[in-house]
């Protein structure tokens, strides 16, 4: 199936009230964020998208592909499933070594050159992790950050899905700005569930969730894009300190004021 757009028609929130956002549509290259407090239904929304909800989930939403609903008994060839969902899982349960798992997944997904795909996947993942993933390691032995990095890389490169849903990628201690930067090179639809203002403002628009319901849709305006840039710099300060601390250095007030000066200079 050639996917041009994916749309969501609103259903109802936890109390049964109809959703205020009645519909939205995404086209290839769009990046959006879903924001709101814990428990407000962000994950449920991306689960609905992943399941091609057809008014048959508790939210009663309808998902449209190229403007059409997907019949309930329609099953995608799993090798060509157009949606990849990176859930909040930070550990694998598969008792296989990383290399073998990726090899089978590449085979399932029908890539012509599995070895090349596995190489690319690991290279992508290792740019996001602290310590590099070793192919002979068991999947279950990977750390939370390594697991999440591998899941993202696998979905983008081996899965090659046109639509990628990412649930709170900031949680596992991976390099999230780097992740966004790498992801933007691919012409796909990205949906981020996030608590991170930087990711939210780097998106084309954001959906605000409340009590299980899509409450509001806000398009990122030019001023917000500038703010996103500033938030990126603050992010970098945090990352710089993280690196210093990881390197065993002692932190001084001087380091802090130097970082703050850099922030002012670039304003």
């Amino acid at each position: 199936m050639d996917i041009q757009t994916i749309g969501v028609m609103g259903g109802n929130g936890k109390t049964g009230e109809p959703e205020k956002v009645t519909c939205f549509e995404l086209k290839m290259g769009d990046i959006i964020s879903i924001v709101g407090p814990t428990g407000c239904g962000k994950t449920t929304l991306i689960n609905d998208i992943e399941l091609f909800a057809n008014r048959n989930t508790p939210s009663n939403r309808l998902v449209l592909i190229n403007g059409q609903p997907i019949p309930e008994d329609f099953t995608f060839d799993p090798r060509k499933h157009p949606i990849a969902l990176i859930s909040q899982h930070t550990n694998f349960l598969s008792d296989l070594p990383v290399g073998e798992f990726l090899k089978i997944h590449a085979k399932v997904r029908g890539g012509d050159n599995p070895e090349k795909l596995i190489g690319e996947t690991l290279e992508f993942a290792n740019q996001l992790t602290g310590e590099a993933i070793i192919v002979s390691t068991g999947m279950t032995e990977l750390s939370g950050g390594q697991t999440r990095s591998l899941l993202i890389a696998d979905a983008v490169i081996i899965g090659n899905s046109p639509i990628i849903l990412l649930d709170e990628i900031e949680n596992a201690g991976i390099h999230r700005t780097k992740a966004l930067e790498l992801l933007k090179q691919y012409n796909k639809i990205f949906v981020f569930v996030t608590h991170d203002p930087h990711i939210a403002l780097l998106s084309d628009f954001r959906i605000i969730m409340r009590n299980g319901s899509m409450e509001k849709l806000v398009c990122t305006n030019p001023e917000e894009r500038k703010v996103a840039g500033e938030l990126g710099k603050i992010d970098n300060i945090m990352l710089n300190f993280r690196t210093l601390i990881r390197n065993g250095e002692e932190i001084s007030e001087h380091m802090m004021s130097k970082q703050m000066e850099l922030l002012k200079l670039t304003n």
Partner: protein, 233 residues
Amino acid sequence: MKLIIFAGPPTCGKTTVIRQVIRRMLKKGYKPAYLKIDVLYADEDKIIREEFDIPARKLYSGELCPDHCNVVVMDEAVEWAEKVGSDFLFVETAGLCLRCSPYIENSLGVVVLEATSGMNLPYKIGPMLTLADIAVITKIDLISQAEREVFRYRVIEAAKDITVVESNALYGIGIDPIVKHIERSSEIEQPMFLRGNPPVGTCTICVGKKEIGAKNHFGVLRTMEHDLFYIGE
């Protein structure tokens, strides 16, 4: 009468899947009955009777394997379901060693597997999977999508022609395709026959021999060097 036999390892979600299926069958106006076969303890009959007010029974196999018990009693069970006016009999069997196949010719065999059970499970359980019509993979929300795809691949590799349905039965997700297969399944024919042979045709242990070692037994023997992937042929 249509006979739907559910098998699968303990706690894999058989009862949860069956409850979701029965809920939908009742909405469509069918009259299901339910039988649970277990070794020592089961309360699923009570749960199902109270939830749906349908004929539901349980049977303890005691010293027998529940799948063996299934073979011995199924004619009576079908008679009972007919007598209480049902058109579908759902049988849930606990299994024991889980290498056996409880499915009967012209019944619909459904094996329920947990997505979390490890990548080698499809190769380990043999005829319970290879002779089933449908494999329902439950608890899909607990693993990543990549793992789901690899697990599904391993299931199909072990059982080439099986229909795989992925389900999160707690939330009723993935149940409708199972119901469709159940509706399309064939009527049971008398006399009934098992679809495959059990892994041990003649069991010397069953008849009271306690000595260890192949030299002390007869019938179907295995040695450590034996290499065989048992599919119940």
